[in-house]
């Protein structure tokens, strides 16, 4: 069994307010190197909170999060940022490409906070863009590209630094079905090459095309397809996934 890259134990995320909102109510999940995992759930199920907690963009109220074997609970801002720069790649529904920069500069920004030299950043960015099939778009401005192409740029930016895990939050949410399908195909190809990818989606069809899908409802994991026959989960039961 390959080593875990993401481990969540009994993660609870509570937001202050009147009344307090419990977005995650005790989630335990292990994602191992080389896995392609879909996290499915309707809006409000806590899946965005889950991806933020997995991506160290947000700290859990309770529970343990380990990224590439490191417990993040005691890390300061600098260490967490380092973890994001070196171990995590993000793909967002809204792409979040910077309009003032060319496609290649946007991808090279994926390595910006590692203090890699600019020439090296560009070299790796070209390689990543060629990998996602945009070798012919290097100097374009992102706002001149189609939605599908923009998401490819964003995926290239996420994988340019070869992170331990890529977290994709609704990567096809803003795309028509044809572009969405081709993005899914790209993500599956990238996984075939050995990359660990977590896809967050509300689309069961997409989830069904993925080897392991984890269903989230009201802040709890209600189904993990890799563990057959599981229909509900109570707090405290550890969940380990595997291939």
């Amino acid at each position: 069994m390959s080593p875990p890259v993401l481990e969540l134990q009994e993660v609870i995320k509570r937001y202050r307010g009147e009344p307090p909102v419990e977005a995650l109510r005790g989630v335990s999940l292990t994602i191992r190197e080389g896995e392609l995992v879909a996290i499915v759930g309707q809006s409000g199920s806590g899946k965005t909170t889950l991806v933020h907690v997995m991506g160290t963009l947000e700290r859990p109220t309770e529970g343990v999060v380990r990224v590439a074997g490191q417990d993040v609970s005691q890390m300061n801002d600098r260490q967490l940022s380092g973890l994001r720069a070196w171990r995590l790649g993000f793909v967002f529904q809204q792409f979040f490409l910077l309009d003032g920069l060319s496609v290649i500069e946007n991808v090279a920004n994926g390595l910006l906070y590692r203090a890699v030299g600019q020439a090296e950043r560009r070299r790796l960015a070209v390689r990543a863009l060629e990998r996602v099939g945009l070798g012919h778009r290097l100097g374009h401005q992102p706002n001149k590209l189609s939605g599908g192409e923009r998401q490819r740029v964003a995926i290239a930016r996420a994988v340019v630094g070869e992170p331990a895990v890529v977290l994709a939050d609704e990567p096809t949410g803003n795309l028509d079905s044809a572009s969405g399908a081709s993005i899914m195909e790209l993500l599956r190809d990238l996984n075939d090459e050995g990359r660990t990818i977590v896809i967050i989606t509300h689309n069961h069809e997409i989830a069904a095309s993925i080897p392991r899908s984890v269903e989230l409802r009201d802040g709890l994991i209600v189904r993990d397809a890799a563990v057959s026959g599981l229909s509900s989960l109570s707090r405290g039961s550890a969940l380990g996934g595997g291939q």
């Binding site: 963009l57 947000e58 600098r78 070196w86």
Partner: protein, 395 residues
């Protein structure tokens, strides 16, 4: 697994907002550049003008003193004793003495055909032949009186007098009708900065004045140069020396004081205008702070993205602070250039030497950057304090 950002990358990230929103950057930097331009321009123009005044003072010398009759205690005009110039000349540190006297009731006309009574405010003065040396005055044309010409009806015209009479460059001997006699113009003076009343005079020799104009030889102004280091000492004893019996009836003055006062007066205006420049700078600071706050709001998703890519809070703060410093720095640079240009244009149009104090240039740049730092600090902190999830939640 450190996250680091090299200086060129900070600079690139910080200039991204400026590059993608050029017009807004331009507009928000205008305030600072106007403020800095005003400050640099005022400092430059006043330094140039002061340099000119000081050079003038230097050339004219501050050791010229004048002695004249003051007021009699009970009212009425006092008289200088005939011995006054000689007495003054015997004061140790006095280098040269030249006496002049206004010839009463003598009027100056271009020809004898003019029936006028008044001479257009032009006075006739009798003067010692060394007057030019004592005053440091120079001639536009011709020569000054010498012991020979001082005996004859020869006249030297002040600059304004020559203009009034329409005599610019004689080239050949011209005669004017002076006190009922024909006098030959032998020279024209340049304007005399330290004795402007000579500009409106026609100057004749003492012997000629007595012989042709019935002048009684009364002294009205005695000019003297003293040792530059003992000017105040000399000034203190002049009244008693000129008129030992009635020192209170003697008026002593130092013409260079007027120029020196003008140098000082300029300082007062300078601080007023610098105050105005500072107000413009403050307005510029508010404009930059406003632009930066807007940028932080608009670019929340960029902040969120950068945090996801591994930017620390410090990196985000540095990026926005750099942007603010770039804005104000560019504004400051434009202001320094603009102010220097204004100074150069103004000084050249007045035929002054261009003086732009280095302090104005460095001070201008430094205050622009200070403005940028202060204006950018709060927006940068706001940007840094945004949590990644808050930043990403927008759109």
């Amino acid at each position: 697994m450190n996250c680091r950002l090299t200086f060129p990358d900070v600079f690139r990230a910080g200039s991204l907002g400026l590059r993608s929103r050029r017009l807004r950057a331009l507009l928000s930097a205008v305030g600072v550049s106007i403020g800095i331009a005003a400050i640099v321009g005022v400092l430059g123009i006043s330094a140039s003008s002061q340099a000119r005044l000081l050079a003038q003072l230097d050339a004219l010398g501050t050791n010229l003193l004048t002695v004249g009759p003051g007021q009699v205690l009970g009212g009425g005009q006092a008289y200088l004793p005939q011995a006054a110039p000689g007495m003054i000349g015997r004061v140790g540190p006095v280098l040269t003495v030249s006496a002049t006297g206004v010839v009463p009731n003598a009027h100056v006309f271009r020809t004898d055909k003019i029936p006028g009574v008044e001479g257009g405010g032009i006075s006739v003065r009798a003067a010692d032949v060394n007057l030019l040396q004592t005053l440091g005055a120079t001639l536009q044309h011709g020569t000054f009186l010498n012991p020979a010409t001082a005996q004859y009806p020869a006249v030297v015209l002040g600059a304004s007098t020559a203009e009034y009479l329409g005599i610019t460059d004689p080239g050949y001997p011209i005669q004017i009708y002076l006190g009922g006699q024909w006098f030959t113009v032998i020279g024209i003076l340049r304007p005399v900065a330290l004795a402007p009343n000579l500009d409106r005079s026609a100057i004749v020799g003492y012997p000629a004045a007595q012989k042709y104009l019935h002048f009684d030889g009364e002294y009205t102004t005695v000019y003297l140069r003293s040792d530059p280091n003992q000017v105040t000492d000399v000034q203190a004893v002049l009244a008693r020396t000129a008129n030992p019996n009635h020192p209170e009836e003697v008026a002593v003055s130092r013409p260079s004081d007027v120029l020196a006062a003008r140098v000082a007066a300029q300082g007062a205006y300078t601080s007023l205008f610098i105050g105005l420049g500072a107000v413009a700078l403050l307005v510029g600071a508010v404009a930059i702070a406003n632009t930066m706050l807007t940028a932080v709001l608009e670019r929340r998703s960029e902040i969120g993205l950068r945090r996801a890519l591994g930017a620390t809070e410090r990196h985000v703060a540095m990026q926005f602070l750099t942007e603010s410093l770039l804005l104000s720095g560019l504004g400051g640079l434009a202001g320094v250039l603009l102010g220097s240009l204004a100074t150069t244009a103004y000084a050249l149009s007045n035929h002054w030497t261009v003086v732009i104090p280095l302090l104005a240039i460095w001070g201008g740049m430094a205050s622009a950057l200070l403005v940028g730092a202060v204006a950018g600090l709060y927006p940068a902190m706001r940007a840094a304090r945004l949590t990644p999830t808050e930043a990403l939640r927008t759109v």
